[in-house]
Every structure is written in C-alpha cells, then in structure tokens.
Symmetry: C2
Subunit: 459 residues, 2 copies
C-alpha cells in the first residue's frame, strides 16, 4: 500500500493544479484520473471548442469581405483532426507538468474507501494524509432525448464528428449552446437553437442575451425561446424534434447542452462521510475544505461558477491548505467568457446584482462605434458597460461584447481585485488603436468627460 | 477678429482631445487644421496601417492551414478603398466630435502671430487667451532618396498605392518598417528591409529585436542590418539601391521610414517666443506648458514617445491647465505596440532600463508554449517578460510578443499605474483559455510557483 501526503482524485483543471502546487510545497502527491489528464476543459471543453473557433472566424472574415475573391472551403475531417492534435498536445502537456513536478500518476477510477484511503479501479489502494476531490461534472441529459454519440450528442461526443452535418438542433441556449450555434452557423450548418427560458444565456446580464440573439439571427440561426423540446424521434436521416409550441424541427444531428451534473456517484463520499448539497455538489468552505477536515474539494464538483480558471485557483488553495498554509479563495472578481463571435466577457456584478447586494450602484454602457479598433475589427456594434459604486466610484463590474473581449476583461478583473475607481481606469493610458481603449472610454463617459463619445448616459 | 478662450493648432491625436476637453470645461474653443482632421494617426498612421493588417492576417491564416482548400486572393485596389473608407469614417468622426462639443473648426495653416493670436492661412486672425500647439511631425527624408509618391514613398504617400507591388525596399527597421515588412511579405510582396543600426527596432528591448527578425525572415523578408542605403537610382521599372556593404537591391518601390521631424517651421514660434530643443521639438513641462505661460504644446511635436495615446492624454492635460485646473501628465506607464504578426507590446521598463535608474530589478521571461490559447492561436513561439523590483516585488515593466499583445498590455499598464506587485497579478483570476493568462503565469514563475511551466528562471 503506497502512502502519500496528498492524493488527488481527478486530473482536470481543479486536480492537476492542486497536485502540482502540493508537490511544489514539498508534499508527496499522487493523482488519479479515470479518463484523460486535462479533464473536461482540455479534452472536451475550452480547448477543443476554442480551437474550433479560430479557423471559422478566419474563413468567415475572408468570405464576407468583397476585397477577397476566390472560394475557400473547410475540410471538416482534417479540421477536427487538427483540433484533436491541439487537445492531445495539451493533455500530454498536463502529464509532463505532473511528471516534472514529481507527482505520481494513476489511471483508473479513484474511490474513497474511508477518510484516508483511495482505491484505484477497486484494486490498488493509496493511503493519504489529505485527499483532494476534483472529479468535475458530466453533461446533464433530458428525458426522451438519449445521447447516442451518433445522431444525438452532448459536448463530449460531438468532438468525434467525422463530417459537417447539414443541420443541427441545439437544445439549450446557455454558453455551450450559443458558442456552437455561432460556430456551426458560420461554416454553413443550418442551426436551430431551442431554449426553455425566455432569453438566451439566462444566467447572465440581459444585455448579453439581447445582443447575442440578434447576432445569432444575423448568422441565420433559428432561435426559439420559451420553448421546450418534448421529444426527439430518430428518422432515417436524422431526427424530428417535437417542440412545446406544437411545431417540429427536422435536423441531421442534435446537441444536448442543458447543464451539468456533479460526478459524485460511485466516489465513496458516504464511506468517508463527505457531505453534498441537495443537487449533489460537494459542500466546501473558503479554504476548499469539506466537512471532513482532511478532505478538500475543488472545481466544478463543488458547484458555483463552472470555470476552468476558477478551478485552477481552488486547486492551488486546497493544496496550500493541505500543506499547512492558511490559504483562502477570496477572489473578488471571477471573469467569465462566452466565446461567440463577438466574444462576451464579464467580471463582477451588473447594476441589478449590485442593487440586490444593497450597493448604491450605477452603470454606464456605450456602443463601440467610437472605438477605432472596434470599427476596424467589425465590432462596432458591440458594447461595454461599467458598473460602479455611485459614491466611491469604485469599479464593481464590467461587461464587454466585442472581438477579443476575453483578453480585455483581465484588466477589468485586476481593477476589481485592486479596488480601482473609474478615475484609475480613465487615467490609465491604453494603446491606440485597441479594443481595450473602450475601458478607458466608458470610464470617461461615466465621469462626464468622454473624448470619443458625445454624452450618452445611462446603460 | 474672433476671440476664443483657447485656440488649438493641429487637429490630430494631441489637438482634438485638447479642444474637446477644453470645450467640456466651458471654454470657447477654436481648432485649426491644415490637412485632415484626425491627423497623422487617423489618416496616415495607426488607423490605415492597422486596417491593412487584419485582412492580411485572415488571408495568411487561411492559406497556411491544410484543413482549408481553395485559393483566396486579395483585390489590392478594393482593399485599399476599404482602408480609405475606415479612415474617412474616423476622420469624419473627429469632425463630428468637435462639432458636437461646440468647437469651431478652421481649415488652413495655423501660425502664431504673437503670444495671443493665430492666423489661419495668413488671413483670418483668431485671438486666444491660451494656445495649444499640436502640429505633430512629418516623415524624415534621407539625402539621395527623394520621395516622389510614385516609386519612392513615405508612410503618407504609400497609402495612395493603387496596386500591389512585386517588391519593396523598406529603408528603416523601426516600428513602421517592420510593420510594413510583416504585412507586405504576407501578401506576397518581396520585401527587403534595411536598417542602419545593428538590430531591428533599435530603440526597444533587444528580445523584441531578435524575435521579430526571426519572424520576418520566416515570412521571407530579406533583412540587412548595420547597412546604409547610399543612393537610390530610378530604373525603367523601379529602382536600384546601392548599399554600404557594396551590394545593390532592385525593387519596384521604396518606403522610407527613417524617423520623424517636428512640424515647427513656419509655425511662428519665434514671433511668440516659444523655445524648442536642438532638434526642433517644443520644450514642455509636466503640465504641457511651453516657456510662454499661456502657450501649451502636446503630442509628437514635443518629442519623446510619439504615440497617439500619449498625445490624447497630453491634450487633455493641456486643456485642463488652460481651464485653470492643476493637471499633470504623470503616467507611470505609457504602453507601446508594434503591430507586426505577432504583435509586440510593452509598458514600463526592462531590467537594463531599471538598473540604469538605480533600481535593483530582476526579470523573468517565459515562452508561450505553456499557454493554451497561444498554442491555439499560433503564438506559442512568442514570449512574455516581467520586470520587477527585487525587494518589493512591484511590477516595473512587461514585454509581450504574442497574438493580441496590444490588448493584453493594458492590464500590465493598470498594474504599473496602481503599484501592483507580482502577487497581485498571480492572484488575479484570468479567463481560460486566453493569452492574458500569460501575465499570471509569468508572475507565478517569478514567484517560484508556476502551474503551467516547469521552472525556467532568468529571462
């Protein structure tokens, strides 16, 4: 029986940073992964989807500018192989990092036997002083729509697509749904997007919902809101979906993207006495500790914002606490991005959320038509919105819909982390011409001294 | 004779912000522009060149990925018309902003008659309590290479190109030279780049020089360093340039990009008693005041870093002082970008510059091979370098060579403005997958706790 200071179950964006950080702190560490190192993010989520996007954007751009002539087409199979190549490189990279940091890797299903031991595939047993659970989530399914990986897909099986479908029904208008809708429509797939709530991206700022619906419709996506898919029947060449509004949609394939469920069954939580919430997510405190003192949990399996970068940070926090440091996960701002075209990114709160927290907040929104780089990059119809404390002028949140929003949101995140005010943003020189200039501009507008806008207040 | 609180001479990135801000502060303002509103930046610099880049990048990407088939070609004339369209939109936008803020616009050459009056084209005279000089710079020329706007160009005349040349000799390996070399080589123009100093981008960090030379050579650019162009002779179809190394280059056209000279001749500086430095740039203090109390100068005509975004801020400072506020230009960090592929961006100082200032600094540089988005975006061969105070760990400078470096440098600029430490960057959650994660990663490496790198210290 092998003994370790720390055993991590799960090698995704929560687990591998936990293992690496624990090893850096001088602990002996093992990590157990039942599928592929890198987890959902590297193998089925962030990495393959963001890899799929860049070629699509380039092709779309070339096709839609009249100064280009000729025709370019995408070899779908080669394209998906290229995506797999990047996934493979990064998944191997995670293995190299673990190995380079001296972490022992085990492949198989990790299961708690008690508070101090973990079995691998029910055979080998690892003894641990501390255990970090980082098992992530799996795609939720819906009754009557069974994923078969051939015609009916979830975000995992769709990565195995061999050829471009002629049409796709996407069930769920959350971030996965809208990202696939944006991407698929632009490579010429007929896209039907069905969302049960009355707006797309229901968990996010409603400005995003309106904006992205308009964009998706402009790409030809058929959007159905407040609509439920009652049943999906297989036809000879595809499926027929019956909708709650009485109509039906025929499509070649289906993508089910209706949320995530925690990977906690068959994990031995009961054997160790680890508590979960009513939805099955593992309860943790600010130090990522479960109710059992030597057992931690990090990443999506703890619920909350399911984001790889949040999991990275939680993994580090858990490892540091396991090593006896006093480390707290207290990020003021956790950015989130929807990788549509254009990208939607935000950090902190909007006015409604701030008000609900009892803060006297205001927000100012400007379109990007006054930002030179946005015009150059076809993002002039995007927007940026800053939310701030009315009295102190402290920045509380930023929402951006623009090309490269994912990159510029980090400045806003640092601003919130450091307690910056609108004046701090306004006095920071931003390089010209960039989209990030919009951060200074919106602060200037909020302060009543815009350079590139005539006064347009109130977002 | 019209009387104003403020008369601004020059409608570029220094002048128009000065006029707008002065008007916002309740002053009566006139602005005099002899060419086109928006100035060098909007009409001949940042805007047209950055507009030219995006289509080139998209075409290059599509041509170089084997999952695309078919051939796409660029209609050079339509492309340049599209560029002109953006320039026109933004130049008109500047006029609209001036008008919307109640600024009176005069077209013609502005000249100081004395400390309180400005003539427009030698006829109309404007009386002013304060005058703000924002006349910018013009391209320098070199003996024996006379710009004719047909075969031999500077950055202004080259915007009138009607068709794609087969080859170009670029004289000067500064930022204009390398940007055109990057762009032109990728649309299939044979590029010769000649720099008199022993490295490209001689004013910048030498890591940039080495990096961009390697990239340009990979695009097929022929780079000649430590080489002078002695003479350029016109041939029937182009030119023949004689180099100091004894060889010669034949090319269809030439771009001269060897620096800038201040637009101070024929400005009436002597009549008002305004002092210049030995190179002809107008001397100003931190409040943008010249030696004459009611006369200010802003932007490139004051020398220093010739950047539109620095001029924006100086224009605002001058206007605020003219309005009786006490405003100082004291930006700790002025970012700068070279819009090559990939982009080079920096803010603050490198280790050598910090040491020269007497600061005990260190720097850490990492390649971007461990940053997922850099791999996706073909930027894995780029790098990021952070320079910091060895004792306090305060961030002193950041240098980035990557896709979208121009956007991510703003976070680094805010960090420097707010006195952030490495730990502040490391504790800020960056969205995954983005290039901006490299800012956190390089801080993590410098702090000895990298997640996505095995220890590689010392930049």
């Amino acid at each position: 029986m092998k003994k370790y200071d720390v055993v991590v179950i799960g090698g995704g964006p929560g687990g591998y940073p936990a293992a690496i950080r624990a090893a850096q702190l001088g602990l002996s560490v093992a990590i157990v992964e039942m599928n592929r190192f890198g987890g959902e993010c590297t193998n089925f989520g962030c990495i393959p989807t963001k890899s799929m996007i860049k070629p699509v954007e380039a092709m779309w751009y070339v096709r839609n500018k009249d100064f280009f002539s000729g025709e370019v087409s995408l070899d779908f199979q080669k394209y998906m192989e290229w995506v797999k190549g990047i996934v493979g490189r990064l998944s191997n990279g995670v293995r190299d990092l673990l190995k380079g940091n001296g972490v022992d890797m085990f492949e198989g299903r990790g299961r708690l036997l008690d508070r101090y031991s973990v079995s691998v595939d029910g055979s080998e047993v690892l003894q641990a002083r501390s255990i970090i659970l980082a098992t992530g989530t799996s795609p939720s399914s819906i009754p009557g729509v069974e994923v078969d990986g051939e015609v009916i897909h979830n975000n995992r099986t769709i990565m195995g697509l061999k050829r471009k479908p002629s049409s796709i029904l996407i069930i769920g208008g959350g971030y996965i749904g809208v990202e696939f809708a944006s991407m698929m429509s632009k490579i010429g797939v007929e896209v039907y997007l069905v969302e049960i709530m009355d707006r797309l991206l229901p968990g996010m700022d409603s400005d995003f919902s309106r904006f992205i619906e308009r964009k998706l419709r402009s790409y030809g996506v058929k959007v159905f809101k407040g609509t439920k898919v009652d049943e999906v029947k297989k036809l000879e060449n595809g499926v027929r979906a019956s909708l709650s509004n009485g109509s039906s949609i025929d499509s070649e394939i289906v993508l089910v993207a209706v949320g995530r469920k925690p990977n906690t069954s068959d994990l031995g939580l009961e054997a160790a006495g680890v508590e979960t919430d009513p939805r099955g997510f593992i309860r943790v405190d600010g130090r990522c500790r479960t109710n059992i003192p030597n057992i931690y949990a990090v990443g999506d399996v703890t619920g909350g914002a399911m984001l790889a970068h949040r999991a990275f940070m939680q993994g580090v926090v858990a490892a540091e606490n396991a090593a006896g440091l006093n480390s707290v996960f207290d990020a003021r701002g956790i950015p989130a991005v929807v990788f549509t075209d254009p990208e939607l990114a935000y950090v902190g709160v909007n006015k409604e959320e701030a008000s609900a927290m009892g803060i006297d907040a205001d927000s100012v929104r400007i379109p990007l038509g006054g930002v030179a780089r946005a015009i150059i990059d076809d993002s002039a119809d995007g927007f940026i919105k800053v939310t701030f404390d009315r009295e102190s002028k402290a920045v509380l949140g930023v929402h951006v819909a623009a090309h490269n929003a994912s990159e510029i949101i980090s400045e806003a995140t640092l601003a919130i982390e450091m307690g910056a005010t609108l004046e701090d943003l306004a006095l920071t020189i931003h390089p010209h011409p960039t989209i990030s200039e919009s951060i200074k501009e919106v602060a200037d507008v909020a302060l009543g001294k815009p350079l590139h806008y005539l006064i347009r207040r109130r977002g």
